[in-house]
Structure formats: structure tokens, C-alpha cells
């Protein structure tokens, strides 16, 4: 165990010397003393308590599926993970790159990414049950690939959740977390609700319904929200760094979901979802000064949406979801983004977005385990400026379909076809073309999946897959890339890759 613990820390944090001598990438998270301590703790906890870790470390035979839930009946700890990793090449021998002209597009070609969940049931008794959850995310920086002993780490979830408060169905959570509904897996896209904040949630969960209201904040490390300025020291020589711009975005979200039975095992539901975003005014200090300031006006935004969903009809993994969402102002840019354009008042309120999305999975043939996943959406986006002909405005959408076979409970080959279509609201600034950008992609995906045989479906993970994808781009799509970007050069792009993806033991409100 000591060996594993040491190994873990060395692997994740190996580079005290390199870290201080290499140039950090923007926004990269270094393995600081704090993160080292955090990782060390995490690894130790995993080794000590997680049955999954133990199982994995003992080289479980591939034919024996790993448990999809690590929550142990005997221990209050649990461990979970989502991860994707792989290698790829294009037809020139370089790393394969995706071709994308819409903000949400087929996820087939994606970066490596890891989430590690750690949960602990801190209390269970007559006052309810309390879980604390931590999720650490690591972004695409693999030492064995780029030789950089560096990592982009993010502490994404860190919250406590109390369920069944006082024996009721009321629950609350406090801390940094995400609140997500159903997604379009094939695009890694939550069309309606995908909230990432530091906040407080109060909810009520029943057998047939779910309701919650959430108040959260975010203050991005971005000049529009956060600014430290050196000012003359109060009582000493030199300067002190003062938090001069301190604009938190307040997000108030609410959800109500109602579920109904459909057939023996199926069900359907409807869901209403809203968000309200508010950003107070502030004073930005101009560069090179501690007195010259300009006012950043307050801003606001809202989202309202509806989802209709159906699941479990015919096969447990069958489902169909339809989303409609309207957004306005600040809320369109979500809590981790900033408005790309403003109106004359320098507010984003005039920005609008409509989304309509449809996604699902359907088993077509039980004999060969044929299932079809698909996702599609269309979006109309208009930014806050008053330009009637504006290249930044868009009507765009994407469609992806992935039929998959389950040949022997193990071999799960698939093909995927997708289209992206993006019509700008004005001329391309260089070519002056008004042509819609289009990308079409066809992929062959031989894969092996590991799950319980009877329940093997399109979402069974872990999955190891080979991917060959060919993308076709029109001129407008090519011109979305900078002039000298090699991706602007070829109408046909090839991708050959091998990827693994897993998820298990996701606890705490995923």
C-alpha cells in the first residue's frame, strides 16, 4: 500500500524542480504544495478504503466486468470516476484533430480527461444523512505524451449534501457542485440544465417528482469580474495588492420535474427549468494605473426551458428526450463564460438564444443487440450588439446518429454519421461569403464493452474502441479556422484513433 501511495503521488505530482523551471501554460494548475497534499490524501483514501481501487489494482480479468458502483455496504466511503483517454493520428502522422463548426458537435474525437470522485457518508441517523463529495478533474496533460511533468487540475466538486432532513424528503446541499439533467451523450451536451456554481440548494425529492431551488455564485478569474491592483501600501513601503474589482455573478436556478409510469418498467416525465443571472456593476481599473477606472455596468440574464422525456420502454436503456430552451442576456454565456458582445449600454441583455434538441437511444433488434443512439439540436443565437448583419449571430445545428451492435455481449461495433451546419448572420469578415459552414463526418467504431451481459447497451462502460473518422468540410467551414491553421487547408480530414472511456461509481448528484 505504501508503494501504491507513493507511486500515486509521484505520478501525479512528480516535478518539483521542473514545475518551477518550465513555462506554465495559461490557466494550468500546478502541482503546488496544496494540490500535492490534496492528491496525497486522495490517493491514500482510495487505497485504504475503495474496493474498486483494490479490485483494479489486482488485475481483474477483462472478462469479469468491474463493478459499476463502488459504493460499499460496509464502508461509508465511495470512489467513482469518469475518464477518457486515447491516442490518435491524422493522415500526416500528427495527432488527430476534430473538425467542429458548431459549439456542440459530435464528441467522438475529444481530449483526454479525468474525474476522480471521492465520497464519504459522514452521518446517517434520525436527522437525515450527510454525504460529502469531492471531485478532482484533470485536463489533457499526459506526461507520457508531452513530457511535461505538469497537470491541469481543477477542484470541481466539493460539497456536503444532507438528505431526508428530519425524516422528510427535503434535502439541501452546500458547496461547489454541478447540477445537471439529461444530456446528449453523443455531443457531451446538456441542452437544458448544466449548472456549475458555488452555492446552496434546497430541494424536495419524491417518488414522482423532484424540485429544487438553488442560489449560487461564481466570480471568474477574468478581468470583467476579478481584478487585483497594486496600490500604495497603507503603512509600509511599496505596494499592496488589493481586490479592486469583485463582481460575483449570482445565479438563482429552479427545477421542477414530474415523473409518470409508462408500461411495466418505463416512464415519462416533464421538467421545467429556470435560471436567473445577475452581475452587479463594478469599476475596472485601467492598465498601468490604480486610480483611472471605468464603470462596468450591471448585467442580467435568464433561461427558461422545458424537457419532455421517456425511458425504459422496450429496453431499460431506451430513452427519448426533447428539450426547448430560451435564454437571454448574461445567462446564455453560462456561469463559466463571459458575454462575447454587449449593447450600447455595455450589457448583454439584448442577446438571445433559442435551443431545441432531440436525443435518444433505441434498441431496434434484440436478436443482434442493435441499438441506435442519436442526438440533434438547433440553436438560434443573436448577440447583444445591434448589428442586423452580424457574422457573430448564428442559426446552427448538429445531427449525429450512431447505430451499434452487440454481437456477443462483448464486441460492440458501431458506425457514426454526423452533420454540423452553421449559418452566420453576416458575411465572413475575410471571404465575405454568406455560405453556411458545413461539416459531415462518417466514422467506423469497432469497440469492446464490458458490462453485465443482460444489460449491455450503448452506455456500457468501460469501453475500448478504435475509431476511423473522415470529415468533409466546405469552404465556409474551412474559413472558420485562421488562415494559416493547417485545418483551413483540407476539405477532407482523416482521423484514426484508439480510445478508452469509463465511468463508475459516480455518486452525489451526477
Amino acid at each position: 500500500m505504501h508503494f501504491i501511495s507513493t507511486f500515486c503521488v509521484r505520478r501525479l505530482c512528480l516535478r518539483d524542480r521542473q514545475a518551477v523551471t518550465s513555462s506554465p501554460a495559461p490557466f494550468s494548475v500546478h502541482c503546488t504544495k496544496t494540490s500535492r497534499a490534496l492528491l496525497l490524501t486522495l490517493c491514500s483514501m482510495m487505497i485504504t478504503h475503495s474496493p474498486v481501487w483494490s479490485q483494479d489494482s489486482e488485475q481483474t480479468t477483462p472478462s469479469k466486468p468491474l463493478s459499476t458502483s463502488s459504493k460499499s455496504a460496509h464502508t461509508p466511503f465511495w470512489f467513482g470516476s469518469y475518464g477518457r483517454v486515447g491516442l490518435s493520428t491524422d493522415d500526416q502522422g500528427g495527432e488527430g484533430q476534430k473538425r467542429q463548426v458548431t459549439p456542440y458537435a459530435p464528441r467522438l474525437i475529444e481530449d483526454n480527461y479525468l474525474e476522480l470522485d471521492l465520497g464519504y457518508r459522514a452521518y446517517r441517523g434520525r436527522h437525515g444523512q450527510v454525504d460529502v463529495v469531492t471531485t478532482i478533474s484533470a485536463f489533457d496533460q499526459l506526461f507520457h505524451y508531452n513530457g511535461n511533468a505538469d497537470a491541469q487540475l481543477a477542484l470541481r466538486r466539493m460539497y456536503a449534501e444532507v438528505r431526508d432532513i428530519g425524516g422528510t424528503q427535503v434535502w439541501t446541499s452546500l458547496g461547489s457542485r454541478w447540477l445537471r439533467g439529461n444530456d446528449i451523450y453523443l455531443m457531451n451536451f446538456w441542452p437544458l440544465d448544466d449548472l456549475n456554481t458555488l452555492g446552496l440548494t434546497l430541494g424536495h425529492s419524491g417518488k414522482r417528482h423532484e424540485a429544487w431551488i438553488h442560489a449560487g455564485v461564481s466570480r471568474l478569474n477574468h478581468r470583467s469580474q476579478t481584478q487585483y491592483v497594486d496600490v500604495p501600501s497603507a503603512n509600509n513601503f511599496g505596494a499592496e495588492s488589493v481586490l479592486m474589482l469583485n463582481r460575483q455573478r449570482l445565479i438563482i436556478a429552479s427545477l421542477y420535474e414530474r415523473r409518470y409510469s409508462l408500461g411495466k418498467r418505463g416512464g415519462w416525465k416533464w421538467k421545467l427549468y429556470t435560471e436567473y443571472h445577475a452581475l452587479p456593476s463594478g469599476e475596472e481599473t485601467l492598465e498601468g494605473s490604480f486610480t483611472d477606472q471605468r464603470t462596468l455596468p450591471d448585467d442580467a440574464g435568464l433561461i427558461a426551458g422545458l424537457q419532455l422525456g421517456m425511458w425504459g420502454v422496450g429496453h431499460p436503456s431506451n430513452h427519448l428526450n426533447l428539450w426547448a430552451r430560451y435564454g437571454r442576456g448574461l445567462a446564455i454565456y453560462d456561469e463559466l463564460g463571459s458575454p462575447s458582445a454587449v449593447n450600447r449600454d455595455k450589457r448583454s441583455w439584448d442577446a438571445e438564444e433559442w435551443r431545441l434538441a432531440l436525443a435518444g437511444n433505441w434498441g431496434l433488434s434484440t436478436a443482434h443487440g442493435l441499438s441506435v443512439q442519436w442526438g440533434s439540436y438547433i440553436r438560434h443565437y443573436r448577440d447583444a450588439d445591434e448589428l442586423s448583419v452580424d457574422y457573430d449571430d448564428r442559426v446552427e445545428g448538429s445531427v449525429v446518429v450512431r447505430p451499434q451492435l452487440n454481437l456477443n455481449g462483448f464486441f460492440t461495433p458501431a458506425v457514426e454519421a454526423s452533420a454540423q451546419w452553421s449559418q452566420a448572420g453576416g458575411n465572413h469578415p475575410v471571404t465575405l461569403s454568406t455560405q453556411a459552414a458545413q461539416v459531415y463526418q462518417l466514422a467506423l467504431i469497432p469497440a469492446i464493452s464490458f458490462g453485465r451481459g443482460a444489460h449491455l447497451d450503448a452506455y456500457t462502460r468501460p469501453q475500448l474502441r478504435l475509431i476511423y473518422a473522415v470529415s468533409f468540410l466546405n469552404d465556409a467551414a474551412l474559413s472558420r479556422y485562421p488562415e494559416r491553421d493547417p485545418r483551413s487547408q483540407g476539405e477532407i480530414a482523416h482521423y484514426l484513433g484508439a480510445r478508452a472511456e469509463w465511468w463508475f461509481g459516480r455518486g452525489g448528484g451526477y
Binding site: 438547433i378 438560434h380 442559426v395 445545428g397 445531427v399 453576416g426 475575410v430 468533409f472 466546405n474 474551412l478
Partner: protein, 725 residues
């Protein structure tokens, strides 16, 4: 990587220009050609996808209208003399779109400040109310972002001749501006630079492949050295902006000169200092490569001819690389890129920058082609006027000969009339003297010979077109040499601007008058007595008020003398900045008030000009001037008639300040001579004249039996007199 040229560049030019473009030599990428074939297939697929998504969303897949390809390019000009031009430095006028405020720093005079084309659209009501009828906007093309701490907010540092400067907007925004102006019958004049590009390359003088401040020389005695034993003759030069060398900038190593210094294009995309576009402009041979102009006056050993050589072939200060505009391919390329803007944005005229830094022969080719192109797309009466920043009236006039520009900025009037008379209270006779000199012959020998050669070469191209060419080119030269050339051509340009009846107009009828512009201090800066630290508030106010009086006095002349008046933005709001960049103030800081005294006075002058055709198109007959040192009631007065077929307007100006040098108040000025005779006018005896500028018209003046009239008016005021109804 050899990146292919940007998609559609050649196509854009081909669409805009009627004939085979020299710029379509841009290598057409094979992939682009191939994509044309695949577009048909993808179009079917996209149609299908569009239908599917439409069915899903009930949202129509309608492509945007984009820029308007069927733009209304009709010219609304019937006679350019009817127009009142308003010059706008776009970055400083009005910020209508905060989203293009990239690199904006309002604290620095030489940074971008955020003005844009949308801002001008927003203020068209204001401009309409003032009465201006044409806008001259600063250059629209993409620029090098900055150099040595100065930004390209002015627009004169071209990097791409056919892309818009996104600080101001995209092509659609530019079209919206021109369209919005045209809807109000306001014309839009584009500022173009044909002489140079931005600082996009350096001369690799020491051949080390990087831009340096280089030192060369040494090995011998030189002046200015501090080495008492043996001075070095060491010279310092910037590879960005070396001094003029008529052989071409020379490379230099430790062993001496090493031939022409190589041209090295720079790739600094963060400040958009990248090779020029279209790519044809990346040919080093398209540049004169002689280094920076160093001689600006006929001083020392520098002859007029040598100064002109430097001005024409040297780089403009700031390392702005001089185009070899004597080359036919460069001429053709420049014609095409600027024709592109007429087609795509619908401009009604060009203001041409740095005219005197190009050989007049360039414009003999450029201008006719532009006129022809404009006419082909329905733009008759396209006006081109150039900026020869020089008080040498002969030099200005030399550009009016041949088939070049239609007009020039009347810098001689700026210096000799607006500055000397209205700002500095000089003799008013200078205005008449300058006017009369238009008919004088050119005396500078090199100007005479070059202009005659040029005129004859053009005139004798078509057999029988010009009687002076009856005995050939040499005969033409002999005849003109013997007769002499007037400073300003008396011949209208072929396909050039005309009056409402289609009669061609000459340069002297189209001279662009101005009291200031973005290259000189504002009039108020020059005309206001300098403030001193010891001035109290009353003194400061008095000085400023005197400046305002002088300004309004100058505006009265500007709006009533022949030619086309051009007002620099903010003049009506009493902006008073000094030399560049202080004279490029943010208009929004002073606001767009319409009740200020200068605003109202200028508006009244414009209205008077519009109401009286004689003020726009009439001949000028000077009736009263005074010399320096004149005494009496008529000293400091200036009077002239504007005479047209329909009417005559008598303009009388009193250029005296309200107080004299001793501080004593001056009496009314009167057009009366030492013999108590009034001013002779062309109005019949007994005519009653009424002032159409000032108020109620109750004040009337009667022409006596001798055809004379005595006009009285206060210091720094003006009267516009017509026959009483």
C-alpha cells in the same frame, strides 16, 4: 508552411472589378477549386439537413442577406460645388459599437479610442441638422495595429488594401453607413493612400536577418565625435526607417557597402504587422526602397528638384514604405484595390493622401481608370481630390494639369488666407493676390518642364485630339514652353466632375477650402492668443472668446468663397487641439450640442450657401481689400461679390479684432476709402441690399448713384448682402 491565400480573395476582386485583375495572380489554391466541385454535393446534403432540422425546430433555415451586392451606387451629386464636406476621423467621432473596442485606451492620445462607422450612423441627425452634405471619412482599410507606442487609429498604415479595419466595423457596417448617408442625400468620400503601405518590412542593412538599430561607418574622421584623438564618422540608422539614399538603401558590413539592402517582411500577427495583402503587394520590386524622406524644404544644398525626388521616391516618415508608383503593374493594382471599394461600399469620391509624394504621372493613369470604373457602375460625377501638404501654389497647381486628380486641398489658401488673415490679422489683400495668381504662369523650371512634358504626352496620345499636337509631341512642348503654363489647369478632366448641365468643371472651380484638418493644428489653437500661467479667469475667457470670433470670421470666408468648403469635425463645437495627435479629439467628450454659438453660426452660413446659388457657383469679383498698415474705417475689411446668372451676393468681412493693440475698442468697419467714397459694386444704383446672414434683415444698405455702397459692420463679423426683395 506555405499557407494558401485566404479563401475568396481573388474572387472578391474578380466580382468587384469588370476586367481581368492583376491581383488575381494570387495563386488560386487547388483545394479551393476542388471545393467548388464538392459544393454541389454538399449543398444537396445540407438541404436535406436543413429540412430535417427545420422540421424539428420550425425555424426557417434562411441565410442572411449579408452585405448588399445590389447596392444602389447612384451618385446624387449634381454639382460638387453645392456640397459642404465634413471631415471625420472615424476613431474620434462617435462610438456606436462597443464590441469593436479592441486595444482602446482613452487616456492616450495616440491610441484607438473606439469611434466607428456605427457611431457616425448614430449622429447623422446631428450632421443633417448642421447642414453638411458630404462626409470625408478616414481610411477604412486594415492597418498595422501599432508602432512605437502609436496606434493606427487614423487609418493611414495600410496592411491590407481590401479588408476593413475591424476597429471601425465590417463591410456590412460600412455599407450601412454609406447607405444611411445616401438616404439623406449625404455623399461619402473615402480617404485613400496610394503612396505607401504601413511599416511592414525592414531593410536588412547588416544582413543579419533581424531588424536592428545599426551603426556603420567608422575608420575615419567624422563630425560631431567626442573622441578628441580620432573621431569615427560612425552613423546610426534604423533598419525600419533608414535615411534616404537615391541609390536605394544600401546594405553595409564591416567591409563596406554590400549592395541593396534586402527587404524583409515581418510576421507579427499580434499587431497585424504581416506582409501586405493582396499578395501581389509582397513583391519587393513594387517599392522604391530608398529610405525615409529627410529634406522637406528647399534648404541648404537641396534643390527643389532634389526635394521633389525625395518626396516622391522616399519612404514617408514612420517607415511607411513607398510604393513604386511609376510601375505600370503597381498602378494597375492600386487602381483595382480602390475600385473595389467604390463597388463594394458605394463611395462618391476619393480624398487622396500624400499627393505630393507621388509623381503626377501616376494620377494620369489612376484617375481616368477610376473615373471610367465609377461611370461603368453608374457613378457619374465621382470626385477625386488630393492632399499636397505644401503652401507652394505652383506645386499644387501642377497636379491639376493632365488627367489626374480633379482637385487639391487648397493649402496655399490655408496658409495665406486662413492663417495669415483670419488667425493672425494679416492684410486682406493677400486673398485677392492668391486668387489672381491662379492665372499666373508656373515659374519653377523643373515643374514647368515636367508638367509640359506630361501634358503633351497625354494630349498627343490621340491623333487630332489636341491642336497643339499638330506638329507632334515636340511641337506641343515648344508651344507650351513658349506660352507658359498657368498654375492651375483651365481644362476640365475627361469624365470628370461636371455641373448640373453636364459641363466639365476645372480644378480652380473645385478647390477644397479648409481652415484646418487632422494634419494641422485646429484653427482655434492657432487663432487663440496663447494662454499664460498668470492669466486670470477673465483674461482666459477673453482670449478664448477672441479665438471664437476669429474662428467664426474664418468660417464666413470658408463658406462664401469659391470652391468646396471642408469642415473638420468638432470645429462647430470649438475644439481647439494643437498639432497631431492633439487635434484629433474625442467628439463625444464635448458632446453634440446644437445650441452653441459657433454651431448656430456655421449652420446659418451653410443655410445661406444652400439658399444662394451664387455663393456656390458664382464667379468671384473682389471689391475691397486692405494692405498691412492701412488706417481708416476700411482697414482690415475684405469684400467680394459672388456673381452667378441668377443673382449676386456681396460678402463683406471685417477681420479686425474688437480691440486694437493698445486695448482700445475698435469702431465699426466701413467700406469707405480715404476720400469718403464707398465701395464700388455691380448692383445697379439705387439697389437696396439686405443682410441675409444676420437676423431680421432690417438693416439695409443702398447703392448710391455712383454704384457705390458703404457697408458698416462690427469687428470680426460678416455680412452676406443681396438685393432686398
Amino acid at each position: 508552411m506555405n499557407a494558401r491565400p485566404r479563401l475568396g480573395l481573388a474572387a472578391r476582386l474578380e466580382r468587384a472589378l469588370p476586367s481581368q485583375s492583376i491581383l488575381s495572380r494570387d495563386p488560386q489554391p487547388m483545394s479551393t477549386l476542388a471545393s467548388n466541385r464538392t459544393t454541389v454535393h454538399t449543398a444537396h446534403i445540407s438541404l436535406f439537413i436543413c429540412i430535417v432540422i427545420t422540421a424539428l425546430s420550425l425555424i426557417q433555415c434562411t441565410p442572411p442577406s449579408g452585405v448588399d451586392m445590389n447596392y444602389n451606387r447612384q451618385t446624387f451629386v449634381s454639382d460638387w460645388r453645392d456640397e459642404v464636406i465634413y471631415q471625420i476621423v472615424v476613431d474620434r467621432f462617435s462610438d456606436g459599437d462597443p464590441n469593436n473596442n479592441f486595444n482602446v485606451d482613452l487616456r492616450k492620445e495616440a491610441s484607438y479610442h473606439g469611434g466607428d462607422w456605427q457611431g457616425i450612423i448614430d449622429k447623422l441627425d446631428y450632421l443633417d441638422d448642421l447642414g453638411v452634405t458630404a462626409l470625408w471619412i478616414s481610411p477604412v482599410v486594415r492597418n498595422v495595429e501599432e508602432d512605437a507606442g502609436f496606434a493606427s487609429y487614423h487609418g493611414y498604415w495600410t496592411q491590407s488594401f481590401i479588408d476593413t479595419n475591424l476597429h471601425f466595423g465590417d463591410l456590412a457596417a460600412l455599407q450601412r453607413l454609406v447607405d444611411a448617408c445616401h438616404r439623406r442625400e449625404i455623399k461619402v468620400i473615402l480617404d485613400v493612400v496610394t503612396n505607401h503601405i504601413g511599416q511592414l518590412f525592414y531593410y536588412d542593412i547588416n544582413r543579419n536577418g533581424q531588424p536592428d538599430i545599426v551603426f556603420f561607418g567608422g575608420g575615419g574622421p567624422g563630425s560631431g565625435s567626442q573622441n578628441a584623438d580620432q573621431s569615427s564618422g560612425l552613423r546610426r540608422s534604423s533598419e525600419w526607417d533608414p535615411e534616404y539614399d537615391s541609390r536605394g538603401v544600401q546594405a553595409f558590413t564591416a567591409l563596406g557597402e554590400n549592395g541593396l539592402a534586402p527587404v524583409e517582411w515581418v510576421e507579427m500577427p499580434h499587431i497585424n504587422r504581416t506582409p501586405p495583402e493582396p499578395v501581389a503587394f509582397q513583391n519587393p520590386d513594387w517599392y522604391n526602397r530608398k529610405g525615409r524622406v529627410t529634406v522637406w524644404e528647399d534648404e541648404g544644398a537641396a534643390s527643389f528638384e532634389y526635394r521633389r525626388e525625395q518626396e516622391i521616391k522616399g519612404d514617408f516618415p514612420g517607415g511607411l514604405k513607398d510604393l513604386a508608383t511609376h510601375r505600370s503593374d503597381v498602378r494597375q493594382a492600386l487602381t483595382e484595390v480602390f475600385a473595389y471599394w467604390i463597388k463594394e461600399a458605394g463611395f462618391d469620391g476619393f480624398r487622396i493622401d500624400t499627393l505630393k509624394h507621388q509623381e503626377a504621372g501616376f494620377f494620369d493613369v489612376f484617375s481616368p481608370k477610376i473615373r471610367e470604373f465609377a461611370a461603368q457602375i453608374g457613378k457619374r460625377n465621382f470626385l477625386m481630390f488630393g492632399e499636397a501638404f505644401d503652401g507652394n501654389d505652383e506645386l499644387l497647381g501642377s497636379y491639376s494639369h493632365g488627367e489626374g486628380v480633379d482637385s487639391v486641398f487648397y493649402f496655399s489658401a490655408y496658409y495665406r488666407v486662413f492663417m495669415n488673415i483670419f488667425a493672425y490679422s494679416g492684410a486682406t489683400s493677400e486673398a485677392k493676390r492668391l486668387y489672381d495668381e491662379r492665372q499666373a504662369k508656373i515659374s519653377e523650371p523643373s515643374l514647368v518642364s515636367k508638367t509640359i512634358n506630361r501634358v503633351c504626352r497625354l494630349s498627343c496620345q490621340v491623333e487630332g485630339a489636341d491642336p497643339r499636337c499638330a506638329s507632334g509631341y515636340d511641337g506641343c512642348v515648344s508651344q507650351l514652353t513658349e506660352e507658359g503654363l498657368p498654375r492651375y489647369s483651365q481644362v476640365a478632366k475627361r469624365q470628370g466632375p461636371t455641373d448640373a448641365q453636364g459641363q466639365g468643371l476645372t480644378t480652380t472651380q473645385l478647390l477644397i477650402n479648409f481652415i484646418d484638418n487632422h494634419d494641422v493644428p485646429r484653427f482655434l489653437y492657432s487663432a487663440t492668443p496663447a494662454l499664460t500661467p498668470s492669466d486670470d479667469e477673465a483674461t482666459k475667457t477673453a482670449k478664448k472668446q477672441l479665438g471664437h470670433l476669429r474662428l467664426r470670421n474664418a468660417l464666413a470666408y470658408l463658406m462664401t468663397i469659391d470652391g468646396i468648403p471642408c469642415i473638420y469635425y468638432g470645429t462647430e463645437q470649438n475644439l481647439s487641439g494643437g498639432p497631431d495627435p492633439s487635434n484629433r479629439e474625442d467628439m463625444w467628450r464635448v458632446g453634440f450640442a446644437q445650441d452653441g454659438q459657433t454651431y448656430r453660426y456655421l449652420k446659418a452660413l451653410i443655410q445661406a450657401r444652400k439658399a444662394h446659388p451664387a455663393l456656390r457657383r458664382g464667379e468671384v469679383v473682389f471689391r475691397w481689400t486692405s494692405e498691412a498698415g492701412d488706417q481708416g474705417a476700411g482697414a482690415g475689411l475684405l469684400a467680394y461679390e459672388r456673381v452667378s446668372e441668377e443673382q449676386t451676393v456681396l460678402v463683406v468681412l471685417n477681420t479686425n479684432d474688437p480691440t486694437d493693440e493698445t486695448g482700445a475698442e475698435r469702431a465699426l468697419g466701413q467700406t469707405v476709402d480715404s476720400e469718403s467714397q464707398g465701395m464700388a459694386v455691380s448692383f445697379p444704383p439705387g439697389s437696396v441690399l439686405v443682410d441675409v446672414l444676420n437676423g431680421s434683415g432690417e438693416e439695409r444698405f443702398t447703392v448710391n448713384n455712383d454704384g457705390r455702397v458703404i457697408i458698416a459692420l462690427p469687428p470680426r463679423s460678416a455680412r452676406l448682402l443681396t438685393l432686398a426683395p
